[in-house]
């Protein structure tokens, strides 16, 4: 789904699938905010992350 297709009804469906509590009155502005956000994040695709591994710090020791 592209950011342009992020309509209020699409947001309602997305929220239901994600079990995300969203007020009905927020669907319209939320669709707009999600379009804006996803649009701005497309820019991040230009950053080459090939050599940047996911830094997960996890210590399995019990103390």
């Amino acid at each position: 789904m592209t950011s342009e297709e992020m309509t209020p009804s699409a947001v309602r469906l997305l929220a239901a699938l994600a079990h995300a509590p969203i007020l009905t009155e927020d669907l319209e502005p939320l669709a707009q905010a999600l379009r804006d956000y996803l649009g701005s994040m497309a820019f991040l695709e230009q950053l080459d992350l090939t050599d940047s591994e996911l830094a997960v710090w996890f210590d399995p020791r019990w103390e």
Binding site: V11, L14, A20, A33, L44
Partner: protein, 473 residues
């Protein structure tokens, strides 16, 4: 000494007078409470006053001082605490109706450390709702009441500016200490990530959250940081790293200090002429003082806002998930919208943001090492205070109104990389509003930032100007 004389003292000076018993902590607290009475109707810097407990604490301090016990520079000094930090037995409201009635049973580490240093807590300062910075709280800009007071540590910045507190604690997730510091004409430091414990502070985005001081002078900021810095096993982000004496090198000057200037991002078209002029003048001042100014490039800076925004959206949404389910209607609409949005961000984008953060940190480290920089110098904000009616709480520009999101451009990089950053007053706009310059330093080298900022502050004394807030008629 009269109220005005007492409240005009810096922490450093007041502390010296307290130690010599020329003044008492009770006199300082009474002066601050009087000043609050004079200013509060207009600026609304405090969410809650703790007058009785402050008077009680001040009496105890005076007894200790009389018996020869001096705990250090904050002993007996009145301080304000942003209302996202827990104080035992005192309601934390976080600028919201959502957690109304919540009374913590413990002190945040930052509060406990201030108490141990002998500071007197006078009240809780106003915050934007949950420090998100998306609503308009009652706090007013003391330089022009129709203008935005900055945020989210709005009350902390305003209280320090109008002298209704000697110093204050703020939190900073994308600029919330430096922003109100710049807008109100005071000094604000976001320490290195992990330097000051966040335990007992309501989180916004744990990957980016910092706690730090606001005060009238660089030296006062250093004195507060001295009291609150240090490892805390109760904060998973806390770093076990020795704490230096922050005021030791304050007067060493900047001769030979290398400062980087990145213009493409930090001096972008968003930055208005008055701000550029003030910061460029400061750059020349630094050269006069013997610093070496180096023009640098870092095109990757453009990725900082989307990376920071993704952390903030997702982590805030996760923290508020249950509250949003049960009390969603009680949030301010703009805050709720961002929390709802955070729930819909693809997990893959969050992971990309984590990977990008590591990359951006490495690029920044490379920049500092390549040019042997001690700090970057930037405008703190693109503009001084803006009339509230011209601002929008929307994430992006809408209907010709300026988005509050625009204000994080120059501050959020230090949250993404975790570097320390300080905002210092560097002049006034043509219409009389304060302007701040930002210095971004190397991790855990707050001392260097204090030294550089102090050298500049000593030239101009912008910090000595005091707003006289007038209620709008």
């Amino acid at each position: 000494m009269g109220v005005n004389e007492l409240t005009e003292l810096t922490i450093h000076k007041a502390s010296s007078l307290l130690a010599k018993r020329v003044i008492s902590s009770s006199e300082l607290v009474d002066a601050i409470l009087d000043r609050i009475l004079e200013t509060e109707d207009t600026v609304h810097a405090y969410a809650l006053l703790l007058a009785d407990s402050a008077r009680g604490a001040a009496k105890k301090v005076d007894t200790e001082l009389a018996s020869g016990c001096w705990r250090g520079p904050l002993h007996g000094i009145p301080i304000g605490i942003k209302d996202v930090c827990h104080i035992m037995g005192v309601p934390t409201k976080a600028g919201s109706r959502v957690i109304r009635g919540y009374v913590p049973s413990y002190d945040a580490t930052v509060v406990r450390r201030l108490r141990e240093a002998g500071a007197v807590i006078v009240g809780k300062t106003v915050t934007h709702e949950f420090a998100y910075g998306l609503n308009f709280p009652p706090t007013r800009n003391p330089w022009r009441t129709e203008c935005h007071p900055g945020g989210s540590s709005a009350g902390s910045g305003v209280a320090v500016a109008v002298r209704s507190s000697f110093g204050a604690i703020g939190t900073d997730t994308s600029g919330s200490i430096r922003n109100p510091a710049a807008i109100n004409g005071v000094v604000g430091l976001k320490p290195t990530y992990g330097r000051v414990s966040r335990y007992g502070v309501i989180p916004l985005s744990p990957s980016l959250d910092h706690v730090g001081p606001l005060a009238r002078t660089v030296e006062d900021c250093a004195l507060i940081l001295q009291a609150i810095a240090g490892f805390d096993p109760l904060d998973v982000g806390s770093v076990d790293c020795s704490v230096p004496e922050y005021t030791k090198d304050l007067g060493f000057g900047v001769h030979g200090v290398r400062l980087g200037i990145e213009r493409d991002y930090f001096f972008s078209e968003n930055v208005i002429g008055d701000v550029k002029d003030a910061v460029n003048t400061a750059v020349r001042d630094f050269e006069q003082l013997g610093a070496v100014l180096i023009e640098v490039k870092m095109p990757e800076l453009a990725f900082m806002p989307p990376v920071g925004l993704t952390f903030q959206l997702v982590e805030a949404a996760e923290y508020h998930r249950h509250l949003l389910s049960n009390r969603g209607y009680a949030y301010e609409p703009a805050t709720r919208l961002m929390l709802e949005l955070g729930q819909l961000v693809p997990a893959t984008l969050y992971v990309s943001a984590i990977r990008a953060r590591a990359l951006l940190g490495n690029v920044m480290k490379g920049l500092f090492r390549k040019h042997h920089l001690e700090a970057l110098i930037t405008p703190t904000l693109p503009t001084p205070g803006v009339p509230i009616k011209e601002l929008s709480v929307a994430l992006f520009e809408r209907n010709g109104k300026t988005s509050l999101g625009k204000y994080i451009q120059n501050t959020v990089p230090a949250n993404v990389t975790g570097q320390p950053a300080i905002s210092v007053p560097c002049g006034f706009s043509k219409d009389g509003l304060p302007i701040g310059l930002q210095l971004i330093g190397r991790p855990f080298e707050e001392s260097t930032l204090f030294r550089i900022a102090h050298a500049y502050e000593s030239l101009h004394h912008w910090h000595a100007r005091r707003p006289e807030p007038q209620a709008k008629t």
